[in-house]
């Protein structure tokens, strides 16, 4: 009995440590390599940087236009996330507390939306945006971001608002408040925890999004960071130092974001599957 417990523990540690090393080692290697000039990376892949070759960062930032991409990513992620969360929350309130028959149909449509991938709409979307003249514009990126964020966020919001007791709304209505006032003054304050989860989860998804920007934009000035970093893989630069620097620029802010909001991100993932 005692023996099997120890063996189990040893196996548990082996598994945990293996997975941790698999995450940490590549990232550390990436960061070390980003401070090495190209020749040293190629000749001695495992050697530590002998000097801090920061030229990699300066060059990749300037040549790769990473400043513009970074700014675009911030604009897309913040604006689309903000609108998605507001729309999802208001829908969540309407779909869980009003009990109209149309509510069920709308909720069903959103649930179906969970199954639909970007790829199954990308062709018509591209055609529609070209016809409307919003392809290759920031609006043409933000609108699809909102639409694809909605299904899951509506699901999260609806589930959460359902759990808010009806009595809170009823007493306010009896006191003469309108339903919109109830939404702003009661539902939103009570739902703050789920709102922040929704915001952080959606932000993460938007920040890392790739296909939509890749297909719907061609103008360099409005592309986002993942697409910008991807161009380092192609013919743009054979300089591995620059590539590693770009990867570090793409990763480090997200690792900091993760360290701050880890619990909220985990909640976002877990909330989709939690049984009531």
């Amino acid at each position: 009995m005692k023996k099997s417990v120890t063996i189990g523990k040893i196996l548990a540690y082996i598994l945990m440590i293996t997975f941790t090393l698999l995450t940490v080692v590549p990232l550390v290697w990436m960061i070390l390599s980003s401070f090495k000039p190209h020749a040293l990376i190629v000749r001695q892949p495992l050697a530590p940087p002998f000097t801090f070759y920061v030229e990699n960062f300066i060059l990749s930032w300037v040549q790769g236009h990473l400043g513009i991409y970074f700014l675009n990513s911030i604009v897309y992620s913040l604006s689309a996330t903000f609108v998605t969360v507001i729309l999802a929350m208001s829908s969540g309130y309407a779909l869980s507390k009003f009990h109209y028959r149309s509510g069920r149909i709308i909720y069903g449509l959103y649930t179906l939306g969970l199954l639909i991938t970007v790829h199954s709409v990308i062709v018509p979307l591209f055609i529609m945006e070209t016809k409307l003249g919003i392809s290759n514009t920031r609006l043409g990126v933000i609108l699809p971001y909102i639409a694809f964020g909605l299904p899951f966020q509506v699901f999260l919001a609806t589930t959460y608002v359902k759990g808010i007791p009806d009595s809170m709304q009823e007493s306010a209505i009896i006191d003469g408040a309108t339903f919109l006032e109830v939404f702003v003054k009661i539902i939103i304050p009570v739902a703050t925890p789920i709102l922040s989860t929704m915001f952080i989860y959606t932000f993460l998804g938007n920040w890392n999004e790739f296909v939509l920007v890749l297909t719907l934009t061609s103008d360099m000035m409005i592309r986002s960071l993942p697409v910008g970093i991807n161009s380092f893989a192609g013919g743009m630069s054979r300089d591995y130092g620059l590539q590693f620097a770009a990867l570090v620029i793409g990763t480090v802010p997200m690792i900091i974001f993760y360290m701050i909001f880890k619990d909220k991100i985990a909640q976002g993932f877990a909330a989709g599957s939690l049984k009531e």
Binding site: V5, P26, L125, M128, L150, F179, T215, G250, F257, F269
Partner: protein, 295 residues
């Protein structure tokens, strides 16, 4: 304005903006895509009706067949790799089998924040001829000529990608299962422990049966995620060399945006949706049978 009117109006103010955006950007294009899939169209002029021609061409195309096989391998590694490993890790953390569990949890979940494109380029570097793997193998085996040849093999080229997918997503499943395990009422387990149930009995008789629903839900995510796999593979290999690592989403993308075969591309995208729905229905059938057996 009466109470009923006020309620009705508020309802539509709350719900309409969202559903309008959703319908015009997702619902309408899906229907559009479905009808385009029965036509030939290069983006100019009018689409010409082609019946099931696109579907027939796709299904008999050997590149598509290889892509489908790759997609199914991704489904397999997700459902039978990421999910059991994620569950195992979550279970070990939940049962406090290791000290400093939250540290390991933080580290294993971390890849979720990194953009698939960055992940792809990083692992390309790791697998490259001047990468970490080659350098390590060379120094361990003392063979300075070692090179990775797996990408040149039609059957095996997808394997490194499967590994990276496992690396990226196992942590996510771990987090999901961990959250669900925490929700279980501890009294049931305590009672079982007092009654002298072994670790294995508790896992098999109490914990796993109560997790069937969660596992089925995550398997749905895994299947639909696997079939739309694009970003990572596109940035890692672009489907190459010679279509060895191609998946349906890349097949669709190349045909649409490189060869301007809009009808053809639409048909490929509809096939992705149909496959996802089919596999999910199959999964639900099995999980319902499994749940009944545990009852």
């Amino acid at each position: 304005m009466t109470y009923a009117q006020q309620k009705h109006m508020s309802y539509w103010i709350l719900v309409l903006p969202g559903i309008l955006v959703f319908a015009s950007i997702i619902i309408f294009p899906v229907l559009f895509s479905f009808s385009l899939s029965f036509t030939t169209w290069n983006g100019y002029g009018m689409p010409t009706f082609a019946g099931l021609e696109n579907y027939r061409t796709i299904i008999s195309d050997s590149v598509f067949q290889h892509s489908l096989r790759n997609n199914l391998l991704i489904v397999v590694i997700s459902v039978f790799g990421q999910i059991p490993l994620g569950f195992l890790l979550a279970y070990l953390l939940h049962r406090r089998m290791v000290r400093h569990g939250s540290f390991y949890q933080t580290m294993i979940f971390l890849p979720i924040t990194i953009s698939p494109v960055v992940v792809a380029l990083l692992w390309n570097q790791i697998f490259s001829s001047s990468g970490m793997v080659v350098a390590l193998v060379r120094s361990i085996t003392d063979n300075p000529q070692y090179v990775i040849r797996i990408f040149e093999n039609q059957q095996l080229a997808i394997v490194p990608i499967l590994f990276v997918l496992l690396w990226m997503h196992t942590g996510t499943y771990m987090i999901i299962y961990y959250a669900n395990l925490q929700k279980m009422t501890p009294s049931v387990l305590e009672a079982a422990q007092i009654d002298g149930a072994s670790e294995k009995q508790m896992l098999m008789r109490i914990i796993l049966p109560s997790m069937v629903g969660t596992i089925a839900t995550t398997a749905i995510f895994a299947i639909s995620g696997s079939l739309k796999a694009f970003d990572l593979i596109y940035a890692m290999t672009g489907g190459g060399p010679a279509h060895f690592t191609e998946v349906i989403a890349i097949y669709m993308y190349v045909n649409t945006f490189k060869y301007y075969k809009y009808g053809f591309g639409s048909a490929a995208s509809i096939i992705i949706v149909l496959l996802a729905v089919g596999l999910i229905l199959l999964l639900q059938y099995f999980s319902r049978r499994l749940e009944r057996r545990f009852e």
